[in-house]
Symmetry: C2
Subunit: 314 residues, 2 copies
């Protein structure tokens, strides 16, 4: 369930006018920006951007970028992009880092639905004139490349039908690979990148039934090699995305000064989807409500926007 609080009736023209007014004159009225954009869903924001463009012959995003700064600017920018376009931007930022951020690429590949991931690949091409897999492949090498490219290119079967025999045999293949510490075994990549999510759930369940421990636990090896970490991230994203997002939030808040990139990313990408459940998981796991934890680590307009997206009333 979503956390954002969206009114039934929205006038896109009035919203565009309010945003224009908030950006005019001396200083910027951040409160208005939050009270409008923080209470609109992606479809409405799209309409507001169109209305704004028509009224003022100016791109709302560009205007906001020139008015705002810091964490607040980045959060607003990420929030008001169309979801597929936003993921394309997040992926590109991750690719262009000095050392490519595997986690973001894996998160986008494995927690979005097959159709959503396809929309991201389309948006990426429209924006960057390259394919997503092309840029991921050009910025990685070795086993990590094999895993990331396979995950990014996946267009998984999205139906309910599973094959118990396959779950059984592939649980064994995964177990053998883990036992022998041959995680980069091509069979492991094949299974994780081509099977449907329902099939993988069945395989992971079978693994746990056979071995008495979960595959994610078994992937917590002595070694902390990048590939092993990437593999574990992929399994966690495929197996239980909400639990995965809770942990990303937990780690981002625990860091000294907080990891704003991760915090913003999870809140803006999940606010319209399942942030309610992620919030509940967070509360249960950390014995403190997520909005309270976020409030403690952030400040100013950035804090106000995140709390609005988390559904906290002023």
């Amino acid at each position: 369930m979503a956390t954002i609080d969206v009114p039934n009736q929205v006038s896109f023209v009035e919203d565009a006018e309010a945003l224009r007014k908030a950006c005019q004159g001396w200083g910027t009225d951040e409160k208005t920006i939050i009270s409008v954009l923080g209470h609109r869903n992606a479809a409405q924001i799209k309409q507001i951007r169109l209305a704004y463009e028509k009224l003022y012959q100016e791109d709302l995003i560009k205007r906001l970028e020139s008015e705002l700064s810091g964490d607040f600017e980045r959060a607003v920018y990420r929030w008001i992009l169309d979801p597929a376009d936003r993921d394309a931007v997040l992926a590109n930022v991750a690719i262009r880092k000095t050392s490519l951020d595997h986690h973001v690429i894996i998160e986008i590949s494995c927690t979005r639905s097959p159709e959503e991931l396809l929309a991201v690949r389309r948006a990426y091409q429209a924006r960057y004139k390259h394919s997503l897999e092309e840029d991921v492949a050009a910025h990685t090498k070795g086993d990590i490349r094999k895993l990331l490219v396979a995950l990014v290119c996946a267009f998984r079967y999205d139906g309910e039908e599973i094959n118990a025999r396959v779950a059984n045999s592939e649980a064994n293949i995964l177990h053998d690979a883990i036992k022998d510490r041959t995680f980069n075994h091509e069979e492991v990549i094949r299974i994780l990148s081509t099977r449907s999510k329902m099939q993988l759930l069945a395989t992971f369940n079978r693994y746990r039934d056979d071995q008495g421990t979960s595959i994610t636990k078994n992937l917590l090896g002595d070694s902390d090699a990048a590939f092993l970490v990437a593999l574990r991230t992929a399994v966690r994203c495929l197996n239980d995305p909400k639990k995965y997002f809770e942990k990303v939030l937990r780690n981002s808040i625990k860091r000294i000064g907080a990891d704003e990139d991760a915090l913003t990313r999870v809140i803006v990408t999940r606010a319209e989807k399942d942030l309610k459940e992620i919030k509940d998981l967070y509360h249960k796991r950390n014995s403190v409500p997520l909005d309270q934890a976020v409030a403690k680590e952030t400040s100013g307009a950035y804090k106000a926007l995140l709390l609005t997206l988390l559904g906290k009333e002023d």
Copy 2:
């Protein structure tokens, strides 16, 4: 350009009635089936199937399958499927062969546009409740698997923008791999499976400029290993699909008794696209018109359908 000869005005109901009549009574009127379906494009055939279903509460394809047999049945069945669905069937047939037919998988992956390939993957899932890459991966192994899965999963950038610097450096990478006979080098697979077709053309041209011979010629090694053959097929499909199809036709006709599967496949999949140019290439290369060569190697209703699709008037 297409070879099929399609009238401007078509009545889908009249077509459905004619087909019904052709299937009724003693024996089947193959001539009518050819004169209707051989002169309709994919969009029209879709409408005829709908009209037929509505009029007779029966699936036209199932009815034709029960009436027809042999090469003619297979050709009619392939021809009247929706193009993406047809490719899904062709791919599945190739996968289920005792030894998976690489060429068909490579041909579909590399000669269709990125959007067409995506439509094939969608159609494959709808029909078989698996993803195409999942089935390809489950039926292959080693280097061939790496190449085929990467090609099938590609969603290439389809625009005009190319990067001359990349063409230069990747022509060198390909040349080094060929020189060292390390075709299975992961860089080779990355380049062939992620770069846009325009970019690959620039890279292949650069290769020829630098080396004085084409990459396809350089891939004609002493060894005839399956992987080398697959690589060459991929390069040929990406570099010049029409020339590739001409060669498939040439080889299928040269074989004693002809390879009907390949002959049918190229004619039904290209008839509405570029079979005109492929015919011209064939004539030029073999000093005999394609329809004449096809007529010599085939017979009966099968021959009549192929010649109709090739645009030959009775």
